[in-house]
């Protein structure tokens, strides 16, 4: 894992500092650019916004989506909320993890896929649901899951 250059971090900060409440947009932009929020950026963000590192940690750790390390090339999110659980979401999730030999938040050995739980994708009518990168998929079953995993190269 390479650490982003200070100049790249600074460029993102400069771009967003004019916003009202720029912290979340900055964090999103970092994650979009680097795939994660590098620890090396914390000092720069805190300095630019004149907040403490504790405050920054409080915000980053509040949102499960912000990650401290890069994910695999694709991120598969499997819904763990009630509606999906009611129609076999749990079994599907367990089976998927077993198949890949991963625990939640794990990444396959070839670096292709990271599997994460998510709480409600808003697709309760088509449960169980999952999301590969930015694309949501409803009515999941073992076959669709295999197809998604194959697509991702897992």
């Amino acid at each position: 894992m390479t650490t982003p250059a200070p100049d790249d971090i600074q460029a993102i900060l400069t771009e967003h500092l004019h916003l009202e409440g720029p912290l979340l947009p900055i964090l999103h932009a970092m994650q979009d650019s680097f795939g994660y929020i590098p620890e090396a950026a914390h000092r720069h963000i805190a300095e630019a916004l004149n907040i403490s590192r504790a405050e920054l940690h409080g915000v980053i750790s509040f949102y499960h989506d912000f990650r401290a390390n890069p994910a695999g090339r694709h991120v598969l999110k499997i819904c763990r909320a009630e509606a999906c659980q009611a129609v076999g979401g749990t079994a599907l999730a367990d089976a998927t993890l077993t198949k890949l030999g991963l625990d939640w938040h794990g990444t396959t050995a070839n670096g292709a896929v990271t599997v994460e739980p998510v709480y409600c994708l808003g697709l309760c009518a088509c449960a169980p649901a999952a999301m590969l990168d930015d694309r949501v998929v409803g009515r999941m079953d073992a076959a669709r899951m295999d197809a998604l995993l194959a697509e991702a190269g897992a």
Partner: protein, 964 residues
């Protein structure tokens, strides 16, 4: 906490508000409170306690614990009373069965994730969670582990089968004074809010969310010590459980009574509750009714009191014939007889004026008064001086000349009304931390800040605080900068003409305006000298003159210069020019270094002034004291500290009684001080420890700490606070008794039975203290002098309707460069200061766990200067000036500008004052600590001087075993 011990300290739930009255009905009781008050507080005012956990009256309402829910007629649901403001005619029910049930349900959830180890818990009897569980009538917790499953919780290290609980976190004991036990946390957020709202450090946060929410100090992986935490204790104080707990309480148990007293560290003068368990002091907590600190504290006052019981403390008097001999422990009689005989002998041989005293800015007013009285009434001369000589004597002189009183013009509450703050030569977050927290609060509310300081101090930029302008001047050019500010205000017509016409001498102002308008004072003309960007300086001047209530706070960075008094006058000029005088939010505010330096000056410690700043030349003033004391008072001013030392080297000054001050370490040009002390025949040191000065002493009289005596301290806002005896003097006598015994051994015949009697004498002889007595202090808590017939309750703000001296006086402030100049041999400028965890010469704080934050003095140097000299972080470096040299380790930082280096003077092995010169303020002899031309180079160990000194100190500190 501790509501049940001192009912007066009851937590009202949310902060007090000011505004129009609103009347409502709570549980059938009509209550009238100011608009904006919460229902929770209104109920508390009516004596009705609504259960609460996340609310506290020093924090804004948060509404998270849901325990304070109430029913309000005409409103749906059960609103939280802490976040619901009162409205006229509101009818509130706080104890219906409906809210009772909700509260029990909430409490049951809290307790489901909290250990039930109350009997062995360190907060047993001092736990709000425990109290609230009782108050809501919780009898059962119905949440059980699911079948074949485990009950997930945060408090069990292992489950019943011995597996580690991943949710459990170990205690964080990294801070020396308190521990953080996450297993007891209820995530009420009070600690985080206290750190933000009260202290203003923002060191804490809640990490994660929901069930994963945890209090975290700093980033993931930081512990409390590694975080930004400054150990002020606000979080510990507000924690409703044992999660954040003082280690002293864990070790010693909860207190059963408390005594209100005053901190003996800096000039803020915080009120504290000394909490006792039997005769053991178990904790110091800031007192919420203390008018200087309003319930806040810093690491020194809150935790660093352990020096009172340190093993280095000397408890028996000691004497020796010569300073190359070891000390011999003797009884009080023998020590005092020895001292008295020697002092009288010296007077017979070398004349009446061959001996003198140094009073202490750390002792009480009463003790200081007695020491100067010892010189004037018993020695028969005016050879009395005090450590204010080396800190704020220019303040006394400068403000006396311009306004007519030698003290700050405001109270600390004034900062809540200020709009533009100028901080000059002070570093409040380290030197005056409780004031800094109050200032930062005001800055977060929108007040603007201008910092004039060679270093980028924390106030220039720290979480949620940023100075509008930082003017990083070259050390020694204060007058040029202050004059340039005045130049801009006058030439751009920004002054308050009405104020000047009404309150100052208009003709004198005209002369001053002519003087200051001269282009040689312009920011552009002085930029080469000062290094300050003229545009920034102009902008700062405009902001101060036009930004609303402007206040100036300054410290030793102003006074400890060859032109210290001139800068003080320049500051007074700025305040008068802009009409910033005589109302809340404005004024000139010296931040006093030591707890009672104001008091020591008030009490006549200076050689030319009797108590109340009245010159000894005045026959009418002398008459007052001659009648009270029954002696003749010398009409000639006595010797100042530097003069005493010079005279000692010349052989005409032979004996010194030095109370509670370590002149060898704290005064400039250590070698000269050592030579002066070595030349004396009788040096009496009256102190807690064998300090550096005691290496040259013939008599050592053990002193008592502030915990061991009664008296008063006067803080930087002229507030006279009571010091109360918490434990009996470990050395047997309070310091005032020892001075009295010494005086009586010299034939004085004093008979003070209590410090209250001394205060009566002070009140009877000193007009500004005429109304002060212990009964009034008991009733009011504290008063600010002048307190007399015209101000029977004291004077929070000075110069309200006119200046004490009549018309405010503008004085010319011509910049004259100091004689201490950089050159090829000494190209850098050294300036000195203080750090948060240490205090002054460190005699107290070095003997506490505070050393964990500052083990040694470091030399701050800019990376550019370091690179030129081949220095790396942590290298041993030799710091040399024309006066001497020492070695210490380097810290590379851009907080100092290139060309400037900085160090502290807390540690005697470094002895920063070996380096400082004997240049001093033209008016008051206050030494020029803040400017010394130095050179820095790599070194491989202590300098010869340091080694010689260490050897001499070891030799001089030998104590013979007591003869049985």
């Amino acid at each position: 906490m501790k509501d049940f011990i001192i009912p007066k300290d009851r937590d009202m739930g949310t902060p007090a508000k000011a505004g129009a009255s609103v009347t409502l009905e709570i549980d059938g009781v009509a209550v009238t409170v100011p608009e904006g008050t919460s229902v929770l507080r209104a109920a508390a005012e009516a004596g009705i306690s609504i259960p609460k956990l996340c609310a506290s009256d020093n924090l804004e309402a948060f509404g998270s614990c849901r325990l304070c829910v109430v029913e309000i007629e005409g409103r749906r649901g059960t609103p939280a009373s802490c976040t619901t403001p009162v409205t006229p005619g509101m009818v509130v029910h706080t104890g219906s069965s409906k809210v009772g049930k909700i509260r029990r349900g909430v409490m049951e959830l809290y307790i489901s994730d909290h250990p039930l180890d109350c009997l062995t818990c360190s907060a047993n009897g001092d736990c709000e969670l425990q109290d609230m569980a009782g108050a809501v009538g919780l009898r059962d917790v119905r949440y059980d582990a699911p079948e074949k499953g485990v009950m997930v919780n945060h408090f069990e290290a292992r489950n019943t089968s011995g597996e580690a609980n991943p949710e459990w976190l170990p205690k964080d004991d990294s801070n020396p004074y308190f521990s953080y036990d996450p297993s007891k946390c209820i995530v009420c957020n009070r600690c985080v809010r206290a750190c933000e709202e009260v202290q203003g450090t923002f060191a804490l946060t809640i990490q994660g969310r929901g069930f994963d929410s945890r209090v975290s100090a700093g980033n993931a992986g930081d512990d409390f010590l590694a975080s930004d935490c400054v150990s002020c204790g606000a979080c510990v104080q507000t924690c409703p459980t044992a999660t954040l707990q003082e280690k002293s309480i864990i070790e010693l148990g909860t207190p059963d009574r408390s005594v209100i007293t005053t901190c003996a560290y800096c000039g803020v003068g915080c009120s504290f509750k000394a909490e006792m368990n039997g005769d053991t002091l178990v904790r110091m907590t800031p007192y919420k009714h203390g008018k200087a600190n309003h319930g806040h504290s810093c690491v020194k006052g809150r935790f660093a009191y352990g020096y009172a019981h340190h093993k280095d403390r000397i408890l028996k008097p000691m004497i020796r014939e010569r300073i190359d001999q070891p000390w011999r422990e003797v009884d009080w009689d023998e020590a005092l007889r020895f001292a008295a005989t020697r002092m009288r002998g010296l007077q017979e041989k070398y004349g009446k004026k061959s001996i003198g005293v140094i009073t202490s800015s750390r002792c009480t007013n009463e003790e200081t008064y007695l020491v100067q009285k010892l010189a004037r009434a018993v020695f028969g001369n005016n050879n009395t001086d005090t450590c204010a000589r080396v800190c704020h004597s220019p303040t006394g002189y400068g403000l006396g000349q311009t306004f007519g009183t030698s003290a700050g013009t405001q109270d600390f509450d004034s900062v809540e009304h200020t709009d533009v703050v100028v901080v000059i030569g002070a570093n409040p977050t380290d030197g005056h931390p409780v004031f800094a927290s109050r200032l930062k609060k005001r800055l977060r509310e929108g007040a603007k800040l201008i910092v004039v300081d060679p270093r980028r101090i924390d106030l220039v930029k720290s979480a949620h605080v940023a100075a509008s302008h930082h003017l990083p001047l070259r050390p020694g050019t204060n007058v040029a900068v202050v004059s340039a500010l005045a130049h801009v205000i006058v030439t751009e017509g920004l002054m308050d003409q009405d104020f000047i016409r009404e309150r100052c001498d208009w003709d004198e102002f005209q002369h001053y305006a002519d003087f200051i308008s001269n282009p040689r004072h312009s920011p552009e003309a002085t930029a080469l000298l000062t290094g300050v960007d003229p545009a920034a300086l102009r902008a700062a001047a405009r902001l101060f003159a036009t930004g609303g209530n402007g206040s100036i706070y300054y410290g030793l960075g102003v006074t400890e210069h060859s032109q210290g008094s001139t800068t003080v006058m320049g500051i007074a000029n700025l305040a008068m020019l802009t009409g910033n005088m005589g109302r809340p939010g404005v004024g000139v505010n010296p931040l006093r270094g030591q707890n009672n330096v104001q008091g020591a000056c008030d009490m006549g410690s200076f050689p030319h002034e009797l108590p109340g700043y009245r010159h000894v030349k005045g026959p009418e003033v002398r008459k007052v004291f001659e009648e009270a004391w029954g002696v003749q008072i010398d009409a000639e001013p006595g010797l100042r500290i530097p003069n005493m030392l010079d005279a000692a080297v010349d052989g005409t000054f032979k004996g010194l009684y030095c109370q509670g001050e370590d002149i060898l370490q704290s005064d400039p040009d250590t070698k000269h001080v050592a030579a002066g002390l070595a030349a004396m025949d009788c040096v009496i040191v009256h102190d807690l420890f064998l300090n550096e000065t005691a290496n040259y002493a013939h008599v050592f009289l053990p002193g008592s700490t502030f915990l061991e005596k009664d008296g008063t301290f006067t803080n930087a806002e002229r507030r006279i606070n009571r010091v109360r005896k918490v434990i009996p003097p470990l050395n047997g006598y309070a310091d005032w008794e020892i001075t009295q015994m010494l005086a009586n051994a010299m034939g004085a015949g004093w008979t003070y039975a209590h410090p209250a009697r001394i205060m009566e004498e002070i009140a009877a002889t000193t007009p500004s203290f005429a109304g002060v007595d212990y009964a009034l202090l008991e009733e009011k808590g504290s008063v600010q002098w002048p307190c007399n017939e015209s101000h029977p309750e004291g004077t929070p703000l000075m110069h309200v309707d006119g200046f004490m001296r009549g018309k405010g006086r503008f004085i010319f402030t011509e910049y004259v460069a100091t004689d201490e100049k950089t050159g090829p041999r000494f190209p850098l400028l050294l300036t000195t200061g203080r750090i948060l965890s240490q205090y002054n010469v460190g005699a107290q704080t070095r003997r506490t766990d505070n050393v964990i934050w500052h083990e040694e003095d470091l030399l701050e140097i800019h990376p550019h200067d370091a690179e030129m000299r081949g220095l790396k972080e942590g290298d041993w470096v030799r710091l040399a000036s024309r006066a001497g040299e020492t070695t210490l380790r380097a810290k590379l930082t851009d907080r100092v500008s290139p060309g400037v280096v900085y160090t502290t003077f807390h540690h005697p092995d470094t002895q920063a004052n070996v380096i400082t010169t004997d240049y001093s303020d033209w008016a008051t002899n206050c030494p020029e600590y803040k400017v010394t031309a130095v050179q820095v180079s790599l070194s491989n160990g202590p300098s010869d001087w340091q080694e010689d000194y260490a050897a001499q100190a070891a030799q001089a500190r030998r104590i013979l075993p007591a003869a049985e």
